[in-house]
């Protein structure tokens, strides 16, 4: 129904703080774009600029090809789901959902049919006469969604909508939001700091840091080829293991003096990373050419059920290795962590990926 195009969008507050320092994102029709980043990275500000709740200091925001910088949130034809739901406390669920339509002068019978059909989709039909304070957190969340859906807007905006729910409900709602968004085919922008939500929901994932976009792409592409150390450590749980390198004529050397024996390219790499699940542990001592081999001591074992995480000291820093099922190792064991060369991520002095 609509595309969303951000061109070099900036937000400078009167205090001089630059919250968003020039962001360009193109979101194709019907796709769900997730903005993810640590708190204070500017993702919420960016969302609020798309909504029209913040003024745009520079650059343009276009919805459906039309620049909307100068028009208010009402005329942008967007709907927003807020973190604390922002339901009108004195209105019944029905009126909460109908309010936006009434303000637009939609005929009464159309409002009624739209509210009721939306309520049916969201399983809210039995709750239409309740007030928000009589609802559970999950139900309020649904009403907030319903209020957005019933308007049938060009764009959905989600501002950390699941962060007030418990873990189980969050998992359910995540799937539900994804299904709804796909069924309705409404272009969406979703802000979260939860990388799991980001990975599972996004068609396009935008990783932000300090007011800038670090990387944009499909979630799995970003996971497999993080463009910077920041992205590598932000996306993935547990985060990627990162080892600092010092160079020498013979090749990169770890902080504890272990020589690695190969390098990604001519570029001087300053940091080497590998994901916890891309490494194996072995008690054997045979030579493994073309792989990173780190002698380690196990410091702690975290069994989670289907997998276990070994926390080890290696190469002058701490690393985490995932092993399937129960771990054979115990704290204090000496073993070797092995990661294949093609699974390694190399970053230069500035933190940018070099391989």
């Amino acid at each position: 129904m609509a595309t969303v195009d951000l061109k070099n969008v900036k937000k400078v507050y009167p205090s001089g703080v630059e919250a968003v320092k020039g962001v360009s994102i193109a979101i194709p029709d019907k796709e769900l774009c997730v903005l993810v980043g640590p708190s204070g990275c500017g993702k919420s500000t960016l969302l609020r600029m798309i909504a029209g709740l913040e003024t745009i200091s520079a650059g343009t925001v276009a919805i459906d090809g039309k620049v909307v910088n100068a028009i208010g949130p009402t005329e942008r034809d967007i709907a927003m789901v807020f973190q604390n739901y922002a339901l009108y406390p004195h209105m019944k669920v029905y009126d909460n959902m109908a309010y936006g339509l009434r303000n637009r002068g939609t005929p009464k019978d159309e409002i009624d049919s739209r509210v009721r059909s939306t309520a049916k989709v969201l399983e809210l039909s039995a709750l239409l006469d309740r007030r928000p304070r009589e609802l559970s957190g999950g139900q309020r969340q649904r009403v907030a969604m319903g209020r957005a859906i019933v308007r049938n807007p060009k764009v959905f905006l989600f501002d950390e909508p699941l962060s007030n729910l418990d873990a189980k409900l969050r998992g359910q709602m995540r799937v539900e939001i994804k299904n709804l968004q796909r069924t309705l085919g409404v272009t969406s922008v979703y802000v979260t700091h939860d990388q799991l939500e980001a990975m599972t929901l996004a068609d396009i994932l935008v990783v932000m840091n300090a007011g800038l976009v670090e990387q944009t792409g499909a979630p799995l592409d970003i996971y497999e080829k993080p463009a910077s150390i920041f992205v590598a450590s932000f996306i993935g749980a547990p985060p990627m293991n990162l080892l600092t390198l010092t160079g020498s004529s013979s090749g990169p050397i770890l902080a504890d003096g272990t020589a690695i024996g190969f390098a990604p390219s001519e570029t001087q790499a300053a940091t080497l990373g590998f994901r916890p699940e891309d490494a194996d542990v072995t008690f054997n001592a045979e030579a493994l050419p073309g792989a990173l081999v780190l002698p380690t001591t196990v410091e702690a074992v975290e069994p989670v059920g289907a997998e276990s995480f070994l926390h080890c000291a290696a190469g002058g820093s701490r690393i985490v290795v995932r092993v399937a099922g129960r771990a054979a190792a115990k704290p204090g064991d000496q073993l070797r962590v092995v990661a294949r060369a093609e699974k390694l991520h190399w970053f230069d002095q500035a933190g940018k990926r070099v391989n």
Partner: protein, 282 residues
Amino acid sequence: MIGQSPLRTFTAHAVLILGILIVAFPIYYTFVASTHTLQTILRPPLPLLPGGQLWNNYSEALFGGIGRIGGVSVGQLLLNTTIMALGVAVGKIFISILSAYAIVFFRFPLRMTFFWLIFITLMLPVEVRILPTYKVMVDLGMIDTYAGLIIPLIASATATLLFRQFFMTIPGELVEAARVDGAGPWRFFFDILLPLSRTNIAALFVILFIYGWTQYLWPLLVTNSNDMNTIVIALRKMVSFADADTEWHLVMVTAMLAIVPPILVVVLMQRWFVRGLVESEK
């Protein structure tokens, strides 16, 4: 109240009952006096039990004594006072909710200056500004009018501050949700802010109605003609009128009648009043 012993319960109740007696006794005694003849009242001691003149006294005060207070009936006095108290209460709420709305939800030049200007008026007691206010009322020809009784009293820093504090607890997300839902400033005010302020408005109404009802100094100054008097002023005039024989039984009846409307307002709005003071509906 954890671990109450019977003795403590007894003491607590005794103190409370004593307090009620101290507060209620003068009112009861006024009521008793309003049911006796003038002769009984003037011949001490006054009996502690109501006499048999209830009907006579009340009907005389309400319907009989036209000539008493400069030809003004009690009904007219009650009407004047009601108009003034309602005008002051409604006017104060109206003005202060709008100014609080402006100060909290809009960004305009000198916003904080205006806020502090309103705030500073709290520091000025009525008596300080009563002369200039009186002069203005005279110049505007508002002496002996309801407008003159009401308008100078409706600016209220206290109510503005109360509404401001309440508005500031309304989450920003709610304001934004309304904006996204297409509610302009007026819609937001009427559809969202006003319903949410209901309990605050009710509590303020009770307080301000009584404030308006019991005004003494201002009505005394601004009303010259007897038929614009409020009941509080009239009571005063009844007493000073006749130095020989003040009709005490009728004074007492009028005093009883004067406290009925404020009591009604408190009793009828009690539920709202308490809710407004205790909780904010969010």
